[in-house]
């Protein structure tokens, strides 16, 4: 039998519990809380390449190498420009001598080992240039494979390498489907495009964007709907590289064709 004291206690407990709103039981997500604190002023860096505008001058590659202290004469580069020449017989010729550091100044296609291929202008169906750089994937396979936590993604979406922590195992170099990573010839650690993190975080453009005379390269904040890069990506017909890998690249291309790999 319940006595009066017990009845009163249990009633208070019951009504007290009912008075607690359901919202009190919702588990809150710290990231959404952080997002609210930032008033939506979040940053996600994205890149836009207009292949129609690129002329293959290679000033971007030169600027990148100097800005980021990648040894100038070493055969490695954080960014490069590829030339695609599609001939009328359906063949595609691709080259990027010295990562196009000195631009494309001859019609001859470099085949490597000092060999060149001459293509007659009449045989060319289409010819164009495609600048390449790190895609700063939303789903970066290079980061997943790092066994020591030396490569990572920042909050604003840039994938960086901690030079003091990298052990040089090279898994990330193998893991990247775009081939943007390499060993730094001086530091002997994994090296990659950083979207010029030291520049973009100071409100500047990347060295390659800064060096491009034709506006073929642009960088912007994808979380800002008023950003010209974001507006182009939202309204124009843009494409990404190797979508089938599910890496969610954040470098978008205007004017890609099926020949581009």
């Amino acid at each position: 039998m319940m006595n009066r004291r017990d009845f009163c206690k249990k009633s208070v407990l019951l009504f007290g519990t009912l008075a607690v709103p359901l919202a009190a039981f919702e588990l809150f997500d710290p990231t959404s809380l952080l997002a609210e604190k930032n008033d939506g002023k979040e940053v996600r860096w994205g890149f836009l390449v207009d292949t129609e505008k690129c002329v293959g001058c290679g000033f971007c590659v030169k600027a990148c190498k100097i800005e980021n202290e990648v040894p100038y004469n070493a055969d490695v580069s954080r960014t490069w420009v590829e030339r695609y020449v599609v001939t009328k017989d359906g063949k595609t010729h691709i080259d990027s001598p010295k990562a196009a550091r000195d631009g494309f100044t001859t019609e001859k296609i470099a085949l490597g080992e000092g060999k060149f291929l001459d293509i007659k202008p009449d045989d060319i169906a289409k010819g164009f240039f495609v600048p390449k750089l790190c895609n700063q994937c939303d789903n970066p396979p290079c980061v997943q494979v790092c066994p020591v936590g030396a490569t990572y993604q920042t909050k604003d979406g840039v994938v960086l390498v901690d030079r003091t922590w990298c052990i040089g195992c090279g898994y990330c170099i193998m893991g990247c489907p775009y081939g943007v990573r390499f060993f730094h010839p001086v530091y002997h650690v994994a090296e990659k495009c950083t979207f010029c993190y030291h520049r973009i975080t100071k409100g500047m453009k990347t060295a390659c964007v800064n060096a491009c005379p034709f506006g073929a390269r642009q960088i912007g904040n994808l979380k800002d709907p008023d950003d010209p890069v974001t507006r182009t990506i939202m309204t124009e017909r843009v494409n990404i590289l190797k979508e089938e890998y599910g890496t969610k690249p954040q470098v978008f291309y205007l004017g890609l064709t099926k020949e581009v790999r």
Binding site: G56, E67, F104, T106, E107, P140, V143, W165, Y197
Partner: protein, 157 residues
């Protein structure tokens, strides 16, 4: 239990203790799971600051404008208006303090980056006035005849 069973266990415990101790000393304090979670954000937070502190070398055309407004204005009304100063003059770095003068690239190689004719339909390159470097005054520097800040004018003698 017998001693020969316990002894290896002590060795294992000792090794585990050493590993934990080394980890405590060697792994930086700011190493851990950051904003992007365990899969993508597992790193030393100080590394981000290291990258942010990397020295800037290219300062952009607007930096040059502050002192060289005459050259800036001359360039901006010419067909070469789109070309940033530093593409030919090199990175400004901390100019005028360091370096006091910039090394200008006046070479033919620099000009033909854009002006070597390449017959590629569908590329912006096709719209740029081009020459064949093999036949157009080979060996001569372009700046002997052409004035780079305004290619419509002849070179300053």
């Amino acid at each position: 239990m017998r001693n020969h069973v316990w002894r290896p266990l002590y060795v294992v415990l000792f090794i585990v203790a050493v590993v934990l101790l080394v980890r405590k000393v060697y792994v930086p304090k700011d190493f851990g799971i950051q904003d992007r979670g365990y899969m993508y954000g597992f790193h030393r937070l100080g590394s981000e600051a290291d990258w942010k502190a990397f020295p800037v070398k290219y300062r952009s055309t607007e930096y040059c404008r502050d002192c060289h407004s005459d050259k800036y204005n001359e360039l901006k009304q010419s067909p070469h208006a789109v070309i940033p100063c530093e593409d030919c003059h090199g990175p400004a770095m901390n100019h005028p303090d360091d370096p006091p003068t910039l090394t200008i690239d006046r070479s033919r190689k620099l000009c033909i980056r854009c002006h070597a004719r390449l017959p590629y339909p569908g590329s912006g390159r096709a719209n740029i006035p081009g020459i064949d470097p093999e036949t157009h005054n080979p060996g001569a520097e372009c700046v002997l005849c052409h004035y780079p800040h305004d290619p419509r004018r002849e070179a300053k003698k």
